[in-house]
């Protein structure tokens, strides 16, 4: 005799997200976005244009297009976020107090935000007329 069973319903749970979950996801998202951003930057600056041809005129010409400024801001923000997250992981081995580690994590987040914001301001406002 054979019996048939209904396929079981998918099981799901809701796990409240916290700083650790967000930081881990951010590491993956930033790495994923860095693939096109960093490679695009490398191919354009080092291969197509060439490092010896890059001067202020070239930068001004490139930043005439808002899209390139956004591209550069994203590259800065995600590369820096990825690096800061990595620093956080390294520091984790040396900071054994959970409270101290939480404080350090937030300090790194603030540092990332401030420096990324400064970079963004420089990219938006820092060109001169070609």
């Amino acid at each position: 005799m054979t019996t048939t069973t209904q396929p079981p319903a998918p099981r799901r749970v809701d796990v409240p997200k916290n700083f650790e979950t967000v930081a881990w996801n951010m590491m993956r998202y930033s790495a994923f976005l860095l693939i096109p951003l960093a490679w695009g930057h490398l191919i354009l600056q080092d291969i197509i244009v060439g490092v010896h041809s890059i001067d202020l005129d070239y930068v001004a010409m490139r930043w005439d297009l808002l899209a390139w400024r956004i591209y550069d801001i994203l590259l800065l923000a995600f590369a820096f976020a990825h690096g800061m997250n990595g620093v956080r992981q390294v520091l984790r081995d040396y900071i054994h107090s959970p409270k101290a580690f939480t404080v350090v994590s937030y300090l790194l987040l603030i540092a990332w935000f401030l420096i990324s914001a400064m970079g963004a301001i420089a990219i938006i406002a820092g060109t001169r007329p070609a």
Binding site: V13, V15, H96
Partner: protein, 236 residues
Amino acid sequence: MLIHLKVFRFDPQTEKAPHYDNFELQAEPTDRVLDLLEKVRNEHDASLGLRRSCAHGVCGSDAMRINGKNALACKKLVRDLNSDHITIEPLLGLKVIRDLIVDMKPFFEHYESLLPYLINEEPLPTDGKERIQTEEQVLRYEDTTKCILCAACTTSCPSFWADGKYIGPAAIVNAHRFVFDSRDRAAAKRLKILNQQFGVWRCRTAFNCTEACPREIKITQAIAEVKRAITTGKLD
């Protein structure tokens, strides 16, 4: 063949620092490392401290560092080491009680913190017997049922060496065994514990645990599945 055996010795009650004792033993290539240690105890120094029980790779009590790598002394053959010089040391990351015996209490505390037992308060099926599972449902967690809690994985993990508060691969493996069991109802509770600072996110996918596991459990994969369950909420 002649084996040069170097064994870690330390009695914290009488010694300030550990030292190594050297023994020269005649052995067969098919002898196990545990046989060598038993020989030392029976013929050279009865005070050598080590744990062993079943001696057949089931109880998991004789995990130790053999030539720098975690393994069960009862499963490691002399010929597998490709050397006539063998160094035996206790597991790293746990306090040495004496010689090759380490304090397993922190390891088991981490294990117990993840509720390693089936939790289901729902009434039994109408026949009053068992909760039937499909083959796929069993296969979902079967690999992690093989764990024998020898601690070879947790004590090979760099994150655990850095900070013993990390819950460790063995505890995560045993959480995985119940989180993905369709009969269990406490997955959310376990995943919430694993989502903390000393939980699953401390894993850096070094793969040491997978290499060290004497039961060949795909530990790093199991940890990745737990991470995915936390972020997506999906248990299938």
